[in-house]
Subunit: 296 residues, 2 copies
């Protein structure tokens, strides 16, 4: 078995190619829109969501031909959410992945439409390619994916995040926000990836879901920690913005040491949920460790 | 057979209820987001796209239980596109359907996210409800729908519209823009509605597609005519904006009389395409007449 580092590098490289393949060509009209879609999606990012899809697919022996579509779709949704999140009416950010944000490099209207078109592309991909031997199962995956993107998922989480800025909220309220804002798409990445392979039994599905929920939350807790402790160069985006914007975070609500302990507990829970699985769950195990131990 | 007027009123009323049912409840969190989604979708609009879906469904004996989902999905995409189109970075409009636009009634960030969440909801609907007896056929419908919304459809058309503002373009360029901006979703409305019923043969599909393309283009030509000839009160949105923004239109490129002749020709072509169908195509025929003869 290749080391996690090598596997992750290979997945990232294959996903970069897959994304480039599924995105509209930059010379196809409307060129400026397509250029913005490619700019915001390619050439950066940790590709954590496609990696989760691929790791979950390893558990169910899913072919990479399918996983690359599932991975591209979740990454494309992530890219669109970052474009819209960076817009002046939202976080008003100028730096992302060490480069100017999409509306700075292009313009606001193009950035808005690039996000809109990326969302549609993601659904085009998961409906227009074979992800499952059974079309009804695939429809379920598309529905789960759409639900994770909507007002009960990512977009809803963004709205709550916005409403929370400058407010004093409780830890359960913060958790509810993050389960929607980050958790839903991370969960969808895992379940979509697994859905590309053989069916899990009821118990297996529940365990995988539990893993996905723990990892989703851990991801955000670590994000909050890094926003305090890292620096702009390492992170490739403006740090300390949460504090500056007076946004409640796990660090501001719990304190740094308890936030780190919480991340460790979530990692332990995620690994616990995988215990009944064999070595095919190893990539998922390694990925959970990576997400909690990462430095950017 | 009920008169077209009665049929249209009944469909509009049933669709209003269907939309209200499928939209998230206003008291479910995040409340402000859900309120904005409902505000922008309910209580206005001609509901032309759901009517096209229902009329096409009549041709294939599709049950209303399915058509209401298809109709709601295309109308929800239309509503999201209007929210984003009205934003300050796009058309910067304050009036829509006789009421303040979404970002005026709420705020820009909420309007942005309401549009995003509406797009996801539309895909949730078409994947999460039975539209066809055959799941593989339904996946095809979802793909067709997603394609119509993306950079090769509606979002792409918006981008070209933006790029064209203040530019001198040719008639074929204007047509290309509108086929994407308005035509793609209108075509999807027809094909989605028809797809909810019995399968058409190859020839039938081609004829219906031809009808949908003609109606989609006619719709935009008439829109351009009305933007010149109607008034703000009748239209419920700011008129004369195209001219003011120096946007190329069918009227500015062809002149008023040739634009009206062109709309008539497209209507004749649409009706011609339906000739081989029996009386079940009558709603589609009436709807084409309505779209070309409407005064708002």
């Amino acid at each position: 078995m290749a080391s996690f580092h090598d596997w992750a590098r290979e997945v990232a490289s294959k996903m970069e190619r897959a994304l480039s393949d599924v995105l509209p060509a930059a010379n196809a009209p409307p060129q400026r829109l397509h250029a913005a879609m490619r700019y915001a999606t390619l050439g950066g990012g940790k590709r954590v969501r496609p990696m989760l899809a691929c790791a979950a697919g390893a558990l169910t022996d899913a072919p990479f031909e399918r996983l690359k579509i599932a991975g591209a779709a979740v990454e494309i949704i992530h890219a669109y959410s970052l474009i819209h999140d960076d817009l002046p009416c939202m976080d008003d950010d100028v730096l992302r992945r060490g480069r100017p944000t999409c509306h700075i490099e292009f313009d606001e209207a193009t950035a808005l439409l690039a996000g809109d078109a990326l969302q549609a592309l993601a659904f085009d991909l998961v409906a227009g390619n074979v992800l499952s031997d059974d079309a009804a199962t695939q429809l379920d995956l598309v529905r789960l994916f759409a639900h994770a993107c909507g007002s009960h998922g990512m977009a809803g989480g963004q709205a709550i995040d916005l409403a929370n800025t400058g407010m004093s909220i409780t830890l359960p309220e913060l958790e509810f926000m993050h389960i929607l804002k980050t958790g839903a798409l991370i969960r969808a990445s895992v379940l979509l990836g697994a859905g590309c392979g053989r069916a899990l039994d009821e118990d297996g599905r529940k365990r995988l879901d539990q893993y996905a929920r723990c990892v989703g939350l851990a991801f955000q807790v670590v994000d909050d920690i890094l926003d305090c402790e890292s620096n702009t160069e390492k992170l490739g985006k403006t740090v300390g913005k949460d504090q500056e914007a007076n946004k409640p975070t796990y660090v501001s609500l719990m304190g740094m040491a308890p936030a780190k302990r919480f991340a460790d507990e979530l990692l332990a829970d995620a690994l616990q949920a995988l215990q009944a699985f064999d070595a095919r769950a190893d990539r998922l195990r390694q990925l959970a460790e990576f997400i909690v131990r990462r430095e950017h």
